[in-house]
């Protein structure tokens, strides 16, 4: 029996101070007349997984979609007050090109939405619209993205088959791979596992854990266990307000706010 590690040494490891990449400050957001977010201020840290939890309709998706300006698509949506800065640039400034922003901040949707094209074309899509034509470059990125999304081994023999033939979990990982292919720095995921079975969910979670090394990830989830498993920090939202934002350990083991406590322990409402 040999146990080869030393506790003292582990404890001595210095924890690097995390670096914020998305800084939201005093954000008020409204759909037309109905305000959806109230005074949100939070920093999201680099190369961490941040989970958004909260009951339905509390504005998690809304905030997430603010980060890559997906809300621009909704006519009535507007920011009333406050700023969102990514890498210290106000993303709602006039001189910000939304296209560039979205390349930098990728998004994976709740309902996996592979295009009805081949698997290969799905991944290559992002590069094709950027004008990449060289076959070798496309091939390379397709492979590396699929490997990155832990899907390569499952689909390498049928890259030219329709992506719709994949299982739900594979489709969701395909969408993640598609996002990876445009080389973002931040990945937003809106309930990426809501339609998946536990095995597929586990695979996506593994993937998130793996991606954490290179990407900053924000994930919205209704599955408290999932938030606890994958995230480093957790934000609890309620009725458009940020109630508590702490390390995941803190939120799940010893939340400060009684609402958070009730929500994470399933005693809400």
């Amino acid at each position: 029996m040999n146990v080869n590690f030393d506790i003292q040494e582990k404890q001595a490891q210095p924890t690097k101070p995390p670096k914020p990449v998305i800084k939201t400050k005093d954000l008020d957001f409204a759909y037309g007349d109905s305000q959806a977010l109230f005074n949100i201020s939070m920093d999201i840290f680099k190369k961490e997984v941040t989970a958004f939890i909260g009951p339905s309709g509390c504005g998690k998706s809304t905030l997430l979609r603010c980060f890559n300006r997906m809300n621009d698509l909704i006519n009535s949506a507007n920011i009333k007050k406050g700023t969102i800065r990514i890498s210290d640039i106000d993303i709602y400034n006039k001189d910000v090109d939304v296209i560039e922003l979205r390349k930098h901040v990728g998004m994976v949707f709740q309902k996996s939405n592979p295009f009805p094209k081949s698997i290969y074309e799905n991944i290559a899509y992002g590069m094709r619209i950027q004008g990449v034509k060289k076959r070798s470059e496309l091939d390379e990125t397709v492979e590396s993205s699929l490997r990155g999304a832990a899907l390569w081994d499952e689909v390498k023999d049928r890259l030219n088959k329709s992506a719709l033939g994949l299982s739900g979990g594979q489709q969701q990982r395909l969408c993640i791979a598609r996002t990876l292919a445009v080389k973002p720095k931040i990945i937003l995921m809106d309930e990426p596992c809501s339609a998946l079975d536990p095995v597929a969910t586990a695979k996506v979670e593994e993937l998130i854990h793996k991606l954490k090394k290179n990407y900053t990830i924000v994930v919205v989830t209704h599955n408290m266990q999932q938030a606890a498993r994958v995230s480093d920090r957790t934000a609890f939202f309620y009725l458009g307000r940020l109630v508590e934002y702490e390390t995941t350990e803190q939120i799940f083991m010893n939340p400060k706010n009684s609402k958070t406590e009730a929500y994470v322990s399933g005693r809400f409402g």
Binding site: N68, L73, R102, M107, L164, T179, V182
Partner: protein, 404 residues
């Protein structure tokens, strides 16, 4: 005994009569009856046209298809009927006429005599039938060209000579004209309609303005076709001075097909799941890229369906082309005798629906025009069917390619 009782005893699921059930059954019956009635009527209509038309189109000899009818220009029919039979027929007909007048004059008083007249008329009718068969066997039919090529015309002593306009030759130019009209106008309508639909479904902001635009487009489809005809006549033929021409017809017909195409295309574009758009926008696509790569291809089946509806609306119309594009008779094919290539667009053409209209309302009716009418109608049906079929096939193909 025991089991008998049990069988008869009503249980909770046993059948019971109720007014609702009676209503249910009778409603079903009424609905079924009217549906079948409509089907029967439509079936009769098609069968009638197909039966009478195929007599003209199909022949018993070698190619089995009346190539002449399909390819030749409309011509005057020259008919020579045998004098003897003609006079006999005339005599018999006059006889019938006088006899029936006499019988009427008898009134009810003399039943026996009246019966005798009726019998005589019947006999005469039989005779006429026989004579008619003979006449059909022995008569000589020539179209213009054949007539001109005859070395000698049949002598007036043996034959009675008559000419019937539009009843000879074929409908070749009309087939070509209709094909050109339908093809061109659908091309124009699809282009304009899809552009408009893209704007409406993707770019425009929802609101009062958009609503009223939609409403007016919808109303446009309810405008009577003759109004389109007059509009086209005023705008294209007179104001733009295109004359009665193919291009004026194209635009007039395109205007007519537009509402259907816009509405259906917009609908099919809006049916594309939001996820496709969001997915591609989130990857950094511009709006137009997103539409081009991720909306239009998948909306294609719907757009093609709309073009089928457009064709159905456009191809059958007489009124819009009456003043704008159609000639009653034109013996040149569209590509014959052009001085410069643009002339192609600025010439009138013949068209099947207008041809039917002309032969059935502009000239005296007789047995020879009837075959022309039915033949044309049948060919017309086939052509419209073919257009629709080809877009259906195209749609199925596209559907297969982009299935979700």
């Amino acid at each position: 005994m025991e089991s008998d009782n049990q069988q008869q005893r009503a249980h909770i699921f046993s059948r019971r009569f109720s007014l609702n059930k009676f209503l249910e059954i009778s409603t079903t019956f009424v609905l079924r009856f009217f549906t079948y009635l409509i089907i029967v009527l439509a079936g009769y209509l098609f069968w009638d046209i197909a039966y009478k038309g195929s007599k003209v189109i199909f022949i018993s000899e070698a190619p089995f298809i009346n190539v002449q009818f399909l390819t030749e220009k409309p011509q005057t029919l020259h008919v020579f009927e045998p004098v003897d039979i003609d006079s006999q027929l005339k005599a018999a007909k006059a006889d019938i006429l006088s006899k029936s007048i006499q019988r009427k004059a008898l009134s009810n008083s003399n039943i026996e005599e009246a019966n005798a007249y009726t019998l005589a008329i019947k006999e005469l009718n039989e005779e006429i039938k026989l004579l008619d068969i003979q006449r059909k066997e022995r008569r000589l039919l020539f179209s213009d060209s054949e007539f001109r090529n005859l070395s000698e015309t049949p002598s007036d002593d043996d034959y009675v000579y008559n000419t019937y306009a539009y009843s000879g030759g074929g409908i070749g130019p009309a087939i070509i004209g209709t094909t050109l009209l339908v093809f061109g106008s659908i091309l124009i309508a699809l282009t304009l309609g899809v552009l408009c639909a893209i704007y409406l479904s993707e770019y425009s902001r929802p609101g009062k303005v958009l609503q009223s635009i939609r409403l007016s487009i919808l109303n446009l489809s309810g405008v009577p076709s003759i109004v389109f005809g007059l509009f086209g006549f005023g705008l294209f033929v007179l104001y733009l001075d295109w004359g009665v021409s193919l291009i004026a017809g194209w635009f007039t017909l395109a205007l007519m097909a537009l509402p259907v195409i816009i509405t259906a295309s917009e609908e099919s574009m809006r049916a594309i799941p939001k996820g496709f758009r969001e997915g591609s926008l989130a990857l950094g696509a511009t709006k137009w890229t997103c539409i081009r790569t991720n909306v239009l291809p998948y909306a294609m089946p719907g757009i093609l369906t709309s073009s089928i509806m457009g064709i159905a609306r456009v191809a059958g119309e007489t009124a819009p082309i009456m003043f704008t594009a159609a000639f009653a008779l034109r013996d040149r094919l569209p590509w014959e005798g052009l001085e410069q290539s643009t002339d192609f667009f600025f010439q009138g053409v013949m068209a099947l629906p207008y041809h039917i209209y002309v032969v059935s309302s502009k000239i005296p009716q007789n047995e020879y025009t009837q075959s022309m009418q039915y033949g044309t109608a049948f060919v017309f049906l086939l052509i419209v069917g073919m257009f629709a079929l080809s877009s259906i096939i195209l749609r199925v193909k596209v559907r297969k390619k982009y299935d979700w």
